[in-house]
Symmetry: C2
Subunit: 569 residues, 2 copies
């Protein structure tokens, strides 16, 4: 299956382009080239100049760039950024949905040795103001739909109308770069010599307090991308669909991983399950990344059907339920379940399926597949630890029971929180980055998240994991999604409160009988969960509040149960 798209015939690079940065100075040993993900683009354009690199459809002005054409546009962007006065280490903010602008920026900004600062398009104006101020970005590349978010910004703002055509201010910006760099080409651009220099600055979605700026490096971005190619088995026959927003932790390094593997990328400006299925059916998609909430939408779509060809779904953002994993497999979609945070370039651990699991029941296997697994190919060890009074870290026993915190270190861990040494020091206490995620370790060394520390429900002195309650709820044949939070209880301290979204069958079955369903559900959990973990309250709702990245906003839910105002949803 191939994409029914002709490459856009513009910006054709001159013949005999040299895909090489300026020669490295003699101070760099012959056996060392600083790791830099931009080098992936130079190789791809050199080896497969005529292969489709980037396809942008489902918009008024579709484009499709080959690697040669795309590399030329990125070179133009790098020169335009430099001409705009951006110096190495300066921040360049990008506010855009998945489209060429933000894909370009992941290479062009780094080629100019600047720091890409993607900003979530769903943030409010004050939040964007804060990030622009905090990052000190003095250039902003913004998609026209979100240009209002940059109103009053001190930085220079370049608007893209997402047309790829003359008259678009972004195209004019690229053209200025082309004029400026034309004769020098790639060899006029200096490669960043320090592979530990800042490459990106991503702000955490921070449910409480101000968002924190996560600094990643050229080396980390390179090695993170290498790992993602290996773990998801991307190669030159792959076609990747951009569902995951690229502004989220730099798209988990996939903007670079896709190019390292010569994968054709399809950018989806608006996430719609209709469009996703259309691409699955007609664009030869082989890979995509998405949070469980989107995956749930995919499996429950009226047109969902087995594809009869390989499709790999990288899942992260929150833990998938065993049920979701099973449903994906029924469609022939191979789930690669990974776990990570913005602080770990996205994915850091992966669930590695074992042959012997095939002998298990579907349920047993799915439960094992819902675990977070082991650390990634280029990651250092992922530990589950208890912080000791002397500041050291002690591993929990591999008993599948003892709760500790996931702590990680190594090449795909962030460098620091930008301009926040106190927060960095706190996060790095003990020589590891403490994730705040609570997990257990099993005898097979897999780790399994039980909860964020604040998601543990302490009921009568017992620790109930909201996640494992949610896993159980999601197994019910009428449940589409479930979220559980603690609600204070006069006798037990806290008790679980469950929010349930019914699926179509469930809606039909229990229409007007939510009270009855709540009783039925509680009864059905007996024996499956310890008494203290059975939700005291069950609320059937139409929808769950989510962050822009698809995470359920537990703080909203906590607020709702605290105020006892169910109607607020």
């Amino acid at each position: 299956m191939s994409i029914d798209f002709q490459p856009t015939l513009e910006s054709i690079p001159p013949p005999h382009v040299v895909y090489r940065f300026k020669p490295l100075p003699n101070s760099v040993p012959v056996n060392q080239t600083p790791l830099n993900p931009v080098s992936f683009l130079l190789r791809a354009a050199s080896i497969y100049p005529n292969k489709l690199a980037l396809v942008h459809k489902d918009v008024k002005y579709p484009v499709a760039y080959t690697f040669a054409v795309w590399a030329q546009r990125i070179q133009n962007l790098a020169y335009a950024i430099i001409e705009a006065g951006i110096r190495p280490g300066d921040r360049v903010a990008v506010i855009a949905p998945n489209c060429p602008l933000i894909a370009d920026a992941h290479f062009g900004v780094l080629a100019a040795r600047a720091v890409i600062t993607p900003i979530n398009i769903r943030l409010t104006k004050p939040e964007v103001d804060y990030i622009l101020e905090h990052s000190g970005a003095n250039l902003v590349l913004v998609d026209h739909e979100f240009a209002h978010l940059t109103k009053g910004a001190k930085a220079r703002v370049i608007v893209s109308n997402d047309t790829g055509r003359a008259g678009d201010p972004y195209e004019a910006f690229l053209a200025s770069g082309r004029r400026f760099g034309q004769e020098k080409g790639w060899e006029g651009l200096e490669m960043e010599l320090d592979e530990n220099a800042n490459a990106s600055l991503c702000y955490t979605s921070g449910t409480t307090g101000r968002p924190k700026g996560v600094i990643s490096t050229f080396r980390g971005s390179y090695l993170g991308a290498v790992a993602n190619v290996l773990e998801s088995r991307l190669n030159e026959e792959s076609v990747y669909l951009w569902i995951l927003p690229m502004f989220h932790a730099c798209g988990w390094t996939f903007p670079w991983a896709n190019v390292l593997s010569y994968t054709t990328q399809v950018t989806l400006r608006t996430v719609s399950i209709d469009l996703i299925w259309n691409h699955f059916d007609n664009s030869g998609i082989t890979h995509y990344c998405a949070a469980p909430t989107v995956q749930i939408g995919i499996i429950n779509h009226p047109h969902s059907h087995p594809l009869g060809r390989p499709l790999t779904a990288v899942i992260a953002g929150s833990a998938p339920t065993a049920h979701l994993i099973g449903e994906l497999e029924k469609l022939g979609i191979k789930p690669v379940h990974v776990y990570g945070l913005t602080e770990t370039y996205g994915p850091f651990t992966r669930n590695y399926a074992k042959k012997e699991w095939m002998a298990l029941s579907h349920d047993g296997r799915s439960k094992l597949m819902a675990r977070q697994g082991h650390s990634f190919a280029t990651a250092d060890d992922a530990r589950v630890v208890i912080h000791q009074p002397d500041g050291s870290l002690k591993d929990v026993p591999e008993d599948g029971k003892t709760l500790g915190e996931i702590a990680v270190r190594g090449n795909i861990v962030m460098k620091e929180y930008f301009n926040d040494p106190a927060a960095t020091a706190k996060a790095f206490a003990g020589g590891y980055f403490s994730t705040g995620d609570l997990a257990v370790k099993f005898p097979d060394r897999t780790i399994s998240i039980q909860d964020r520390s604040k998601d543990i429900i302490i009921s009568g002195g017992e620790n109930a994991s909201s996640l494992s309650i949610e896993q159980e709820l999601a197994n019910h044949s009428h449940v589409l999604e479930a979220a559980v939070v603690a609600k204070s209880h006069p006798k037990w301290g806290e008790r679980p409160a469950a929010f349930i979204v019914l699926n179509r069958e469930g809606q039909e079955e229990w229409s007007g009988q939510h009270k009855e369903f709540e009783e039925h559900l509680k009864k059905s959990l007996k024996g499956k969960l310890p008494g203290f973990a059975i939700p005291e309250w069950v609320y059937v709702v139409e929808d769950l509040p989510k962050t822009s990245t698809g995470k359920i906003q537990k703080n909203r839910l906590r607020q709702i149960v605290a105020e006892n105002v169910k109607s607020k949803l």
Copy 2:
């Protein structure tokens, strides 16, 4: 298809092994772990402890180790090496055919922060003496069959009888390490903190002069292995057959690449085409590396047949002919044609097949596939240059004609020639490693080796490439192998002399009529090669002299034509 092998049930590691080096000191930033290929083993043993890692068959005492058992043996080896007084940076020599001893050493020596120094088993005693002396190795691990090569060595010598059983001196050495390290485990071993520290010392087979010692680093070995996994698409379902000797450029980093990808490795102690086909048929082999001469043996074996399942052949050592590539494809064997040297960790460039080549004739496509291609995933650019009088390097035009020298740099180029700063400086002149291989560059940026500089035949002032003559000769339906060297000529200065090995058909057809075949062959080349490139002399021989790594010994052939003594072959 699976291997009919039960794991060897010994050395079972204790439960709850921690697969982690000693914690890194606080001086190492949280976001940096030194790149080290030993980390691949720790991950593999942690994730897939019960998967077969290493299978050694076709010997009196076969063994099959799981990753957990193998990691324990390697840990024992590391401790034994340390206990033997080896300090970080010291050299540990290994003299062995493909077997567990040398596979172990690629991890155990590095885990002890020492430098693995594999020595070619086919060298003479004086050559081995020279290498042992030059490397300063003070520990030698030697296979019993080659123990005589260490006679009189100043270093401590540990002999392996390749039994894996009690009573074997190597097993006793491992047991000593186990006693020494038992309580400390992996966490008792310090990780090499400098990723640019020496990891291996491999001696070039050097056809003239003393062999040179090539130093590679931990970082380079890691990144070379990453590239080989990506380029040959190794993964946890792969089974790799060890045909290429591991002592040759550390097996092109495959000892580490296989473990990074959780591949099961099968060590073939003796390279026999019978055994190779037996493994193809019965061991589920998916990958192997071999020089063209071995590949020719594989395709011409009486039992050769299409396998009906994927098998990837990585080809290097010398340039494959278009004919060979075509024949491999007929058997369903996918050739991955790579090029490199000991100085580049083995493979450095690869031929990347293009979709559009499928429209070409078989011959046209095979010719493109015989080119050396582009640089590897983690390699820096491979250039074709002419050294300028001012010491700088100038790229040849991309015209497919102008001859230059292949020059490379970056993370998978050697660090230096051991204890030979003059040779290092010469090789690194201009900031690149000059390979000595002469090539042209085509408009599609592929490079194509024409010859080693000394293999160019200067005939009447014209440069004739012995390689392109050999390519043409190999296309003849009666030719099995061909080698061409320069022979002095009173009128033209030099003229090509061709040595031909006939295939079975050719032997039948021209039995007793070699003179007639020679005339016929010369005539058949007219129009295909320029007049000055048509061999003046054609010698039909039974066999070609080869180095231990399968390269044709052109210097032998030159000597023969110089002495005009054909019978010497």
